[in-house]
Symmetry: D2
Subunit: 341 residues, 4 copies
């Protein structure tokens, strides 16, 4: 059974394990104050081309989201999210558990535009309602679409005009920035968002996300919030070493490119068989619409998620590729699908 269920099915890229082994017996400080973590931070600052940013490492996406958002907001302030937003449904109320409402805005492609946010603002008029304050977006979105630079600029401008915090969930950021349709860099994100994170777990690390805080007023005392939420690892070096390895050369983006390439291969071939897709996704997640009978056959040999019902006879499925996905496995899947078609 080969799995296209997600991009965290395997361990870590071998270079990462090597880096851990090499540094293993050196003594160093705890809680992210070791030399590896400090170097990783410097490296990321160079990549983002800014010294006016703070960088903190987390062990997972939900933890990053809940710690950042609860640190950034006052008690009456709320999050605006697309209806597909990970924080809205798939984090077990983690944001609400820190006291904040998440306002859902219905969109088709997973992406928030200024008008969507405007509508949410207009619906919250006085102190009998929460005050929308933070705009949460994901890039790529939870359904694989990505923001263009122009789209992000418009949203960023709107947020600044309306004193809203723009926060980008980058659980799969490598895949977005490595997409053939992408026209943004890490540096652009540093300029256009107030905070974003660079996901490692889903792009070759054992675990780890790097939160980048761009807006000055959001930086103060941030490590207090991390400790309070249980996010300061005693052996913080574990994440620092991994990011150091991922960004010491182009490894991070090479891994993401491979994941995207495998996804493109899937999409191109599935498309050429005449199948449609639920949504246009130029990143490492693909959502083809297939007949239920074929899906059942495929499931005997491949693991993947059934995504949504299209009609009586057809459903969309989610196929995720990663740095570890083997081209042979993709080709075999395509051949099997061809035989079934």
């Amino acid at each position: 059974m080969y799995s296209f269920k997600n991009d965290y099915s395997e361990g870590a890229h071998p270079r990462i394990l090597n880096a851990l082994i090499e540094s293993n017996l050196e003594q160093d400080d705890g809680y992210g104050e070791d030399k590896y973590t400090l170097k990783a931070i410097e490296l990321l600052k160079q990549r983002i081309n800014s010294n006016n940013i703070d960088i903190h490492f987390f062990s997972g996406g939900t933890q990053t989201n809940l710690t950042a958002i609860s640190a950034f907001l006052r008690p009456h302030e709320a999050v605006i999210s697309a209806n597909t937003g990970h924080v809205l449904v798939h984090e077990t109320g983690a944001i609400e558990a820190t006291g904040h409402k998440v306002i859902s805005v219905e969109v088709k492609d997973g992406k928030l535009k200024p008008n969507d946010v405007k509508g949410a603002l207009a619906a919250h008029t006085d102190e009998h309602m929460v005050k929308p304050k933070l705009v949460y977006i994901s890039n790529p979105t939870e359904i694989g679409s990505i923001y263009t630079k122009s789209e992000l600029e418009k949203l960023s401008n709107f947020c600044r005009e309306n004193k809203l915090i723009l926060f980008m969930d980058g659980a799969r950021l490598g895949s977005a920035l490595s997409s053939e349709e992408n026209d943004m860099t890490l540096e652009d994100l540093g300029g256009l968002t107030d905070a974003f994170y660079i996901g490692g777990t889903k792009n070759g690390a054992l675990l780890g996300e790097a939160l980048v805080i761009c807006k000055e007023s959001l930086k103060e005392d941030f490590r207090f919030h991390m400790k309070q939420k249980g996010a300061l690892l005693a052996k913080g070096r574990l994440i620092g070493i991994q990011f150091l390895e991922l960004f010491s050369d182009n490894l991070y983006f090479d891994l993401a490119k491979h994941a995207n390439k495998m996804a493109d291969l899937l999409r191109k071939n599935i498309s050429s068989m005449g199948y449609e897709f639920l949504v246009h996704s130029p990143s490492n997640q693909s959502f083809p619409i297939l007949p239920n009978s074929i899906i059942e056959k495929l499931q005997e040999k491949y693991a993947f998620y059934l995504w949504s019902k299209i009609d009586e006879n057809n459903s969309s499925v989610r196929l995720v590729t990663s740095w570890a996905t083997k081209e042979e496995a993709v080709m075999e899947f395509i051949e099997d699908l061809k035989k079934l078609t």
Copy 2:
């Protein structure tokens, strides 16, 4: 500069890294539902000799404490802790951030006895005060002392009679259970506490703590709480594999025994030079009282924490040993101290 600052200065025991490498490219399920995690759970159940327990893995102690305690308590219920308790002061209000007061009880040796808890109960008489509900203890305590079986039995009985939840923080549990003065087993803890955790981070793992929930009513829906607090790692196998390795034979206790042996060596020799200790600690933390002038000299070559001021000329320091502490380093420290004495 050799460090006796803590037991998380190095990476992981080499066998653990090996185990990660061996399993690295296998595909498996996420969020702790992989085969390694499931095996580790089975193994721990055997060690604790019980099938009526639930086991969950966390990435750190603060996260374990805050997730467990907030899951176990209703909003008006409070924690009772010794004044040395880690949750009281050293977790940045993590428990309070989930809504619960931590009541401090002054004790000398870091250990709570039934009478201490009784006093806290007596001081909380009605609905104008919080309702004390969970007794938080650490074994070993934050100052290195350990509970005897008889002490824990008395406390456990008192808690059951008073409908209190007994929770044991085992960040350094290996060291406690491997102490020469210890007379308890994991099985005893399964019978005497309502929940406890087995610390991995401070005993040779890269990261990881195993929470054991013994009391039936505390088990329900526990994974919801983990996800909500950001504690469900996507690659949950990372912790499962480590605990599997630590408990597949006696590695966990062998590592702790080494740490204790190094601590005993320190204490025996320091004691024989005529120095006193702040507290009797038969585990891997030692608190000798030394002249300030000697402390300053030692700090040129060794890293360790200054613990507390004793008088104008003397202070106690904290020396922590671990699975990775080298006997030569200990002997060198002793020789250096002898020269300074």
Copy 3:
């Protein structure tokens, strides 16, 4: 300017002020343990015809909702509410501030049916999402509709089968139970809900809501939660005395009947002029759809809320009547509308 803006524009019914004056200089216990409050509780138990209920008094609806809901739920559990639910939008995230998500379900008439709740349950399948646990309904709803006994029975059965808590917000309960279309009693509510509250503020009291807890497991330690949320008034008698007066004879329902009668008068006459209504509301709130030009004219003389835009030229408005609404004012409004029509 006569106001139809809401049902809390005036002070209290004169009999209530009299009752306060008569008892004013007697000494009594604080925090709701005075003889008036105890008598009021006994009286309400008689009206609900049950001794197996607990009754607690609050100073307002939001406070009642947030205290009850946070006391009833564990951290990972969520509320299901109609999209019109007061807790969803109009309480400034009060429920989320206690840590719980409110799940919105789109309905047309403000009322939740078993199928609506079923859909919400089906969408929450595992520990990556919150666990829906409490069904929040309002009677009358926020748009004036009321539940029939048969509707409530079906919902109640569904909740019990699915281990859901059924909670009824009764901010305007007097109006619902006094509606010509109502077929329920307080006793019915005691049997069909797990908790509900009887609103005083909007039916003639200065302030005060009576929370009735029917389900045994929800009663424990409830006063702790009240105190923690700032809901235990030092002079708790202030509310006890008012409920004693409201329920010592039929005053509570007489006041509600008057409010409904005034609303019926409005609706009958507005309807006879050919206007439609946004929603069928047999309680003290009415939502006629009027031409914008007429609305503007009416606003010169009457205060009321613009409710929603219907099309370019028409909007719905909200007219609220109360125990204090004068028939002459209603008739004058009708005459003025007739002239403008």
Copy 4:
């Protein structure tokens, strides 16, 4: 049985009930936007002699404390309180329930001095501990002592130098400012604290506290926090009218003076019989130390709280007087005590 248990045993001063009756049938806006509330705010601003303050009305002290403190602090920030502080023990963890630790500082007379706060700051050194941010004091304190202007100036200066928020709980502020030993005015408090509240419930109102926010940065969006905590009363006029009456002339201070006078009478006479007091309290609470045998006799005729055990044979009791305390009752108590002595 005459009660000296507290200062909220009776209803309201008759003038307050009259004011409610006079305005009762007028229509006005809800949620504290009515003309009475607006006038009361203007009046208080004149009394405090400042236009740069915001004033909000609450229904009780715990509600005021929890709403203000949670609005003022970020999640990692904590409160410093004397060990006698009301928020520390007697509000059922209301502050912790909003996420914040309350740090206890041991003092003898209920009053915090700069050095006490300094000690708490020194004990909280980094992000592994909460960040002390708000200094909570009560005037009079919970044991009846009051701050002098010089003491408050020193504390205020210290707080400003250390970027700490100084918050004064004024549940019994009338009594403090009317004490013979007082040398402060409302205007002084406006200049020296960042926020304080003027208690109405314990000084003749049915209910009501007026929170005064002096520091600009604490004012923003405050009504959102009130609504979220259930503190915005629909009939907000209920409190506005009372404060308008209390401050339209000198009623507020006249009532407090009477309470103090009754307390002075008690203290002078009890003292002249040779009894000691637990603490020097120049306000409306007195803590005489009496033989247990005499206390028992007195309890047959008078209600009051046993405060603390002094030795085998003696205890301190708490006697509270109020605006409603009758001089004859005080004299009778004194006579009875004389007979027993």
